[in-house]
Symmetry: none
Subunit: 401 residues, 2 copies
């Protein structure tokens, strides 16, 4: 029995409202020894006021020392063990562009690449062609059909694209065609079990067809496929938690991840204010809201400490839109850290705040890494956030007599 | 290998003495935001003095967000994974009334219930008859025999009772007769595997016999059975920890739980002072003492903040009876939180204190939730308490060379 089974056996429905506000890449680092992180630097009177009557802690997205990608990090936030419930890269890629995968769809990642006259790969990224160029190439391959299988090819960024095959009986037990090095030919896709043989034949047909279509499109004259994956069969939040849940996210990837666990995806504008307004207008219709703010992460990835500070301050300025709704449980969390000084995701534990009338109070003066590290919730796995939110909304019955 | 196997492979006997003082439902909540919990409110000069030279922390009984019942919570305190070693409800019920189950006994919970002339259940609790009334009904059913199987029927509280079947070859792989709703007949008990078939026949015979005996006892004219369970085959503390262990508890449930893991049950009076006196008089005879104080929990369940405070103060006043014995390891812990404001068990982590000459010192000013949250032991699973106690009594050898 994993923790999700346990939660499922204990969860009950009621009329409470919960908001999980995720500031992507929230955790940070100071620029110099002993200095302040992005969150500590930000002027956040509203978050600070909330922290005063909240329980604080630090979460580990996966485990100590592990830097989480967006997929596993969000699975953990939603209460799904990110080691057990891995989402295949193809399916994550499809989610990332907002493609709504069907039950039988098979997805894979595409790299546009360069091959020489002998078919040897000379550049696995086709000179990093622009997204515009790759979009045009995708159109050439999109909406074709092979042996009754419909094929969708959609651009991601630069040389990267996604392909989705729609038909019945497709298997994802397939090896990659991407050789992961240059100076060799792309590999044949090989079936990893008996049932996948037909699909492998089909994949190789598609690759050869694509090579013909792209023959004169040097440097993008071939494609490499990897990460074949079907839609992950994740337990649904409605069944496990007995929750009507909704996602408010501007970026396709996060909508896709939320869709995988059965959340309703709400239409929203791209700004923080618009996202929070969407929460307000739909607050009566759902029990649980996942609200996703992307710019904390993207500014961190860009190495822009000051911009990350400003994004956090913008969240703070608009916070009353959420607190004014008086949700029974409000959590402010991050999926992982993205310190501007590292220009990337990192392994550092992430500041966490939970406000409910049943939490213990930290009387903290400020919402930031230092206060959260000394918080009453201690340091705990992000996987525990959902059980904690459910407990604080009195949605979990007692385990054992 | 689970943690118990590891501990078993490392544990050795020596002459140290350990006391695990469990204040049931110890953890609490403040009545208003930022206020003090029951434990923080209590005037506890002796516990505070102990805290000054002890290591503090916060324990999770089961896992984050999960509210523990007494059974699983105590298994965790005794070092047994409460998810792996579930005690069947029937067996827990028998433990709860202090019934000493034998190896082959089969136990189940009984609800006295009301059926109409067509045998349809109209009230699953027989109008919540008094414990006195149900005691008389139990006597009618007690000490009967069917096909050579001895039957014990004992009252619990109001409409609830326990039945224990004594004979050989009884199986607990049985479905409940309790339909869990009204307007339907009670269910036949069904064997869940081949070996349980004879037992199922026997159970249905017992139910029909009981219905005949109770026919004119409206509203308690039938019984519903659930939670069939044999005595849990738990590893014994003597084998796993090499400990001569004893339990000092006034309430039957906790004696029963201690008996399941092989503790000796010591005779004691019901007051805190009498329990602590019992420890004193038997201190030379055992290595490990589980001392259980119930009133912290019952006052919390009653929603009586002030009484819970007073119970804690009474423990404090009598603490010298324990500390005067100078046990090598003294732990003050709770099995779960029972905040008066919630009038029930809750999921909140529980204050923890360990005193030994080998612990790190927190120099805390007070034993309470805030100090424990910032303690040197951090927040950790209650399952780790026994290994920690054994380590501090130098009873665990090194793992690996």
């Amino acid at each position: 029995m994993d923790s999700l089974d346990l939660i499922k056996s204990l969860s009950v429905a009621n009329n409470t409202k919960m908001v999980l506000l995720v500031l992507d890449g929230l955790g940070g680092l100071s620029l110099e020894a002993g200095g302040k992180t992005e969150l500590e630097t930000a002027n956040t009177p509203n978050l600070d006021l909330l922290a005063e009557s909240a329980a604080l802690g630090m979460t580990d997205p996966i485990m100590s020392g592990i830097t989480a990608g967006s997929g596993p990090a969000h699975l953990a936030l939603f209460g799904y063990d990110p080691i057990k419930y891995a989402i295949g890269r193809g399916a994550l890629g499809a989610a990332g562009i907002g493609f709504d995968m069907q039950e039988d769809d098979l997805a894979a990642r595409i790299n546009f690449a360069t091959a020489d006259n002998n078919g040897l790969i000379t550049d696995r990224r086709a000179g990093r062609i622009t997204t515009d160029e790759s979009s045009k190439l995708c159109e050439l391959l999109d909406k074709t059909e092979i042996s009754g299988i419909k094929i969708f090819v959609k651009p991601v960024k630069e040389h990267r694209a996604v392909v989705i095959f729609r038909g019945s009986g497709l298997s994802d037990k397939l090896s990659d065609s991407d050789p992961q090095k240059i100076g060799v030919k792309s590999k044949e896709v090989v079936a990893l079990n008996e049932c996948a043989k037909d699909t492998a034949v089909l994949m190789n047909k598609f690759i050869h067809k694509a090579q013909n279509i792209l023959a004169d499109k040097h440097p993008a004259n071939t494609i490499l496929l990897r990460g074949f994956a079907k839609k992950p069969g994740l337990p649904q939040m409605k069944d496990v938690y007995k929750l009507n849940s909704a996602a408010i996210a501007a970026y396709p990837m996060y909508k896709g991840l939320a869709r995988f666990v059965g959340m309703e995806i709400l239409q929203t504008g791209p700004t923080i204010r618009e996202e929070f307004e969407t929460l307000k207008t739909s607050f009566n219709k759902y029990d649980f809201f996942f609200v996703h703010v992307k710019a904390t992460d993207s500014s961190g990835e860009d190495g822009d400490f000051n911009r990350k500070v400003k994004v956090i301050e913008e969240v703070d300025k608009n916070l009353a839109l959420i607190t004014g709704l008086k949700p029974d449980v409000l959590v402010v969390a991050g999926d992982h850290s993205t310190p501007a000084s590292l220009k990337s995701h990192s392994w550092h534990p992430v500041p966490f705040l939970l406000h409910s009338k049943y939490c213990r109070f930290d009387n903290a003066k400020h919402f930031g890494e230092r206060y959260c590290s000394k918080g009453t919730l201690g340091r705990f796995p992000a996987l525990d956030i959902m059980p904690l939110m459910l407990a604080n909304s009195l949605r979990l019955t007692k385990y054992g007599a």
